[in-house]
């Protein structure tokens, strides 16, 4: 599996990692993220006022560049994605050696996102412009790398055009299932599986910060698996095997396959796991019949806390970068949530309680 020559980031393993420098830079960037005070102001603004506030607080370049194409909440959403992509590019640019490899590997989730967006676009006959609008270029693949796929006439052609990317082989293999079933599911799952497999492989086997980072990734995989098992438990048509991602530390495939038939036991297993103590309220709510939405939010918060604790323990490692990435993503989620909430007339209390993380 190789990357295209035009990939944005070359991974240079020969250099020594510059953890201290990048940690200092991301700490400075973290201080620029919107804080409680900003959110208190933002929830009381209209979407246009939010866009203006963003323009005055670090998003001026994106708002000005996208202002002619988009307006209202769409402008806010695309400006958030653009700014996030730029920020992540900066981090990759600062990073060297193994740190760069880890960051690029973590940000490959956006490559996975973009590859799926392109395939979906081709599948639904979306225009080239529509597909490009929905790309979030925060990963390694640039728009140029995806050009041939975007211009494809069919899903088969798009898969062929993506052959040189990290997802090429897996897509090629899943193409047979796509042709048999006529749905994108096999292709999308193949892309996500490749992302997680490479992410865990790139995390390394070392001790100290590497071990903690690996634990973090394992927790992410565990929580993804248990969340999908809970969704599968409410379904008769979902085969958990299609969605299980290898690499978690706590939940094994066989265990989840067994538990998926009994939702109560599955919830109990989550409570008894090492994650249970941090999400007691959400598990209680789930047992009382609440939807999975609340648990989703609790799991997101748990991962952010995990990354933060990892940062306190190893301030000069990949941990501060991961923590920053998660916090930046949270900023995107929160500002977008506030803007969309305001657009549809949600009250300040509703936005604060139900939307913001």
């Amino acid at each position: 599996m190789t990357y295209t020559a035009s990939s944005k980031y070359g991974v240079e393993d020969t250099e020594s990692p510059n953890f201290e420098y990048v940690s200092a830079r991301v700490r400075a960037r973290k201080a620029q993220l919107f804080d409680e005070d900003d959110y208190r102001k933002l929830v009381r603004m209209s979407p246009n006022e939010i866009a203006r506030y963003m323009e005055e607080n670090g998003y001026d370049r994106e708002i000005n560049r996208l202002g002619a194409r988009h307006s209202g909440v769409d402008l806010i959403e695309y400006a958030l994605y653009d700014n996030m992509s730029e920020t992540f590019h900066d981090i990759v640019g600062w990073s060297k050696g193994s740190l760069r490899k880890l960051v690029v590997s973590y940000l490959r989730k956006y490559d996975a996102w973009n590859v799926k967006t392109v395939i979906r676009g081709v599948y639904t006959d979306a225009t080239e412009d529509e597909i490009r609008t929905d790309l979030i270029p925060a990963g390694e693949l640039s728009e140029d790398d995806l050009d041939a796929a975007i211009n494809s006439e069919s899903v088969e052609q798009a898969v062929e055009a993506l052959a040189d990317t990290a997802f090429g082989d897996a897509l090629e293999e899943a193409l047979r299932d796509y042709k048999d079933e006529g749905v994108l599911l096999p292709l999308e799952n193949a892309v996500d599986r490749v992302f997680y497999r490479r992410l865990l492989a790139d995390a390394g086997e070392g001790s100290g910060p590497e071990k903690v980072y690996r634990e973090y990734l394992q927790a992410e995989v565990d929580l993804l698996n248990v969340r999908n098992a809970l969704r599968a438990a409410e379904s008769e048509a979902v085969d958990l095997d299609d969605y299980f991602v290898e690499g978690g530390a706590r939940f094994r495939r066989e265990e989840l396959q067994r538990l998926v038939g009994n939702r109560e036991e599955l919830v109990e297993a989550l409570r008894a796991s090492k994650y249970g103590g941090d999400i007691t309220d959400a598990i209680d709510a789930l047992e009382e019949g609440s939807s999975l939405v609340e648990l989703d939010r609790a799991l997101e918060e748990l991962l952010i806390d995990f990354a933060q604790k990892m940062t306190y323990r190893y301030p000069n490692s990949v941990a501060p970068v991961i923590s920053y990435i998660l916090n930046k993503e949270r900023e995107v989620d929160n500002v977008r949530g506030i803007a969309r909430g305001k657009e549809v007339g949600m009250t300040v209390e509703e936005i604060e309680e139900e939307v913001m993380v």
Partner: protein
Amino acid sequence: MVAEDVKPTRKDLMEIKERIELSEQGHETLEKKRDGLIMEFMEILEEAQDVRESMEDDYTEAQKRINMARALDGDVAVRGAASARAETPSIELQSKNIMGVVVPQIEATKVRKDVGERGYSLLDTSARIDEAAESYEELLDTIILAAEIETAMKKMLEEIEKTKRRVNALEFKLIPELEEARDFIELRLEEMEREEIFRLKKIKNKKEEEAKEEARRRREELEAAAADD
């Protein structure tokens, strides 16, 4: 039917009486049909009100959930999940008969789907998207039911209107006109009968007078002959 067009004959009178009887029977039947249709309509109306209320509730819920999904996952993610649809719902139109009115019966398939049948991956979507999809499927199901009930209601209303027009036409136009014609013929026939009696009386009187005259003339002749003798 105007009186001038009616021939005042006993044959026509009988015909008109038969038509009146038939019209009254028809009127009664149509009245029963109209009342039956109204009763059926009231039942459907109640059902339609419930469905409409439930449609409004479902719409509010679906909007709320899609708004939450758009807010928390972003438009791009929601659009992505929506574009992965595996099977498009289909509807099949059948019909059923309510008191002679043919109303549609809509059979929908693949409207409500299991999360595993929606075509999107669980790996990059959230429970919020599941909830939004589920709510919209529920809404679509209710819309289809509302379409069936409201079309039935519309057809029933048309039939009620048509039946009402027929009942009114019989009650206020055809039957009164036939009755008028019947009365006219009866009046004319009575008149003609009276004229006939009067005429016969006249003839009788004339004949009596003629007989009297003849008797008087004979008597005079006899008296004259006796005088001559």
